[in-house]
């Protein structure tokens, strides 16, 4: 059974969760060069970029994966979301320059459309379509938060954890789109076909997630 793990911010928490359910993650070295490692038993771990995890699992190259809900929303991969692991919490938000909300809504009334810069065009488009707002999505590869300052866009859609980056760039949250956290995902066919192997892991991770959450709330 192959288990895909996202490199980067989520990896240490994911490894802690897997260790807590007694999987052998000792050969996984964050930042290491070996990307496919043996996890004991019949488990193999594969490390990949977060946005590739959804692809691996959707196409069955991995049976299970741990990845942020943000990545799942942007990729629209057809995978099963089995457990909210609660770590890696962040939010998709719409943000605008502080104090500029009235001005941009006025602009919207006169010009009929707003420009929105984002690294997450699919999430942004779905959100504004559901809200019935006409926007022009400007896709950027990084640092959407500078877009309003340089006149690239009126608003941005971005992923925020603490909101520090927004404040530093004099942006304020207009509205929240969705709260995100890490998810245990499965390939649909693998989940049904290999349930006997997968179900115990899912149960243990669900227990771990609810315990770690109630621990954090105390």
């Amino acid at each position: 059974m192959r288990f895909a793990l996202a490199q980067g911010l989520l990896l240490n928490d994911a490894l802690a969760a897997l260790r807590a359910i007694a999987l052998d993650v000792s050969r996984v070295t964050p930042g290491g060069r070996r990307l496919v490692v043996d996890g004991g038993g019949n488990v193999e771990f594969v490390l990949a970029r977060p946005s590739d995890i959804a692809t691996y699992v959707e196409r069955g190259a991995a049976d299970l994966g741990i990845v942020g809900k943000d990545v799942l929303m942007e990729s629209a991969a057809r995978v099963l979301e089995l457990v909210d692991l609660h770590f890696g919490a962040c939010r998709f938000v719409v943000a605008a320059p502080r104090g500029a909300l009235e001005r941009s809504l006025d602009e919207y009334r006169h010009l009929g459309s707003l420009e929105v810069a984002t690294k997450y065009p699919r999430v942004a488009e779905a959100h504004f379509r559901a809200r019935g707002l006409e926007v022009e999505i400007v896709k950027v590869a990084g640092s959407a938060e500078v877009a309003p300052q340089v006149g690239l866009a009126d608003w941005i859609v971005d992923l925020v954890a603490t909101g520090g980056t927004l404040r530093a760039n004099d942006l304020a949250i207009v509205e929240e789109i969705a709260a995100c956290s890490a998810r245990l995902i499965a390939n649909p066919a693998s989940y049904h076909y290999r349930r006997a192997e997968i179900a115990p892991l899912v149960e243990k991770l669900a227990d771990w997630a609810s315990r770690s959450r109630s621990g954090a709330n105390q």
Partner: protein, 396 residues
Amino acid sequence: MESGSRRPLLSAPRGFRDILPTEARELRVIEQALTETFAASGYMPLEPPMVEYSAAQPTQERLIQFLDTDRSLVALRPDLTTAVARLVAQRYRETAGALRLSYFAPVFREEPAMTAGEREVVQAGVELIGASGPIADAEVLALLVESLERCGLRLDGATIQVGHVGIVRRLFAPLAEEPRSAVLSALRAGDLVGALRRAHEAGMPSEDVTRARAALGVIGRGIEQLDGDDVRELRQVVHLARERWPSSVKLWGSPNIGLVPALPYYTAIVFEALHPDVGVIASGGRYDLLIGAYGAPRPATGFAIDVLRLHRALFAEGWRPADARPLVTLHSGGDERATMRCAASLRAAGLSVAIGDVAETAGIALIAAEVVDERRVKLGDGRTIDAATLARELAR
């Protein structure tokens, strides 16, 4: 036209592809096995049109649409079950009793770019309309198993999984209609986390949420812990369908409560054929409300096999079609009239003959032959042989 913009026109549009003879020949073998199996159970072939009105589709997602010249919005058919339901409501309005219909045809769905997604999928399937009850569900389920087996697919316990949308719906019965349909659409999208969260937020007691979560994980014999008419129905359908192979040691049908297909119109028994390398090969189930959307309601059940995925699964298992009879390539000795007559006499003896070279053989063995006269050819080994003798030799 600029030379730079010409190149894209040489390939098929994104998500569509050419099927060349080696593959096409294998698909024909599969097509023949499937259509014969369907016919042997009384299913009559039909061919709905390639294009349907967009507004008549149960879901607007993933349609490949365009404006017709009368400005109505039309879509390449995304699904044959819907097309058959529409057709039956219109063309069989006055016909009472059971309709057994089958098809083998492409359907078209939009796929996100750059995901290797195919936009054209070939479906083979049946619809049993006007019949209800476990015997009808079992007939269709058993026919799916038989169809896959006749194509040469190896089946085992986990291959065919059977669920029941009614059981899933009942798990969320405490909810009002609106949040419940939101929960079900999250489940159809595979979002178990989101479904349970929505149920919780809509006020479902947490012990009910926990119970629903556990029930959605029930597979195989675990179903014996559950009760209800729908659970009994599911068990009965699996047992009845297995009666088709009373002495078989293979247990190919396995209950799976968490099986919720992506398509929204299923109402009761649902099932999927899964392959470890390829994923979902076929899916189907009961859709008693779909035909009612187009006319008088009628109970209905059916399945569709994704033929290209079935082919992929067969290939992964090492399946190859039985060898076609070899092809004689006939080379003229200069007398073209004699060549034409010689080809005719070889064909009359039951041989396949091409005159001249054949560059694409699709894996078929070639027998090179040179025309001697109207009835005889000279083979590569130097023998001169007449048509009937050659046909006898190649038949061995």
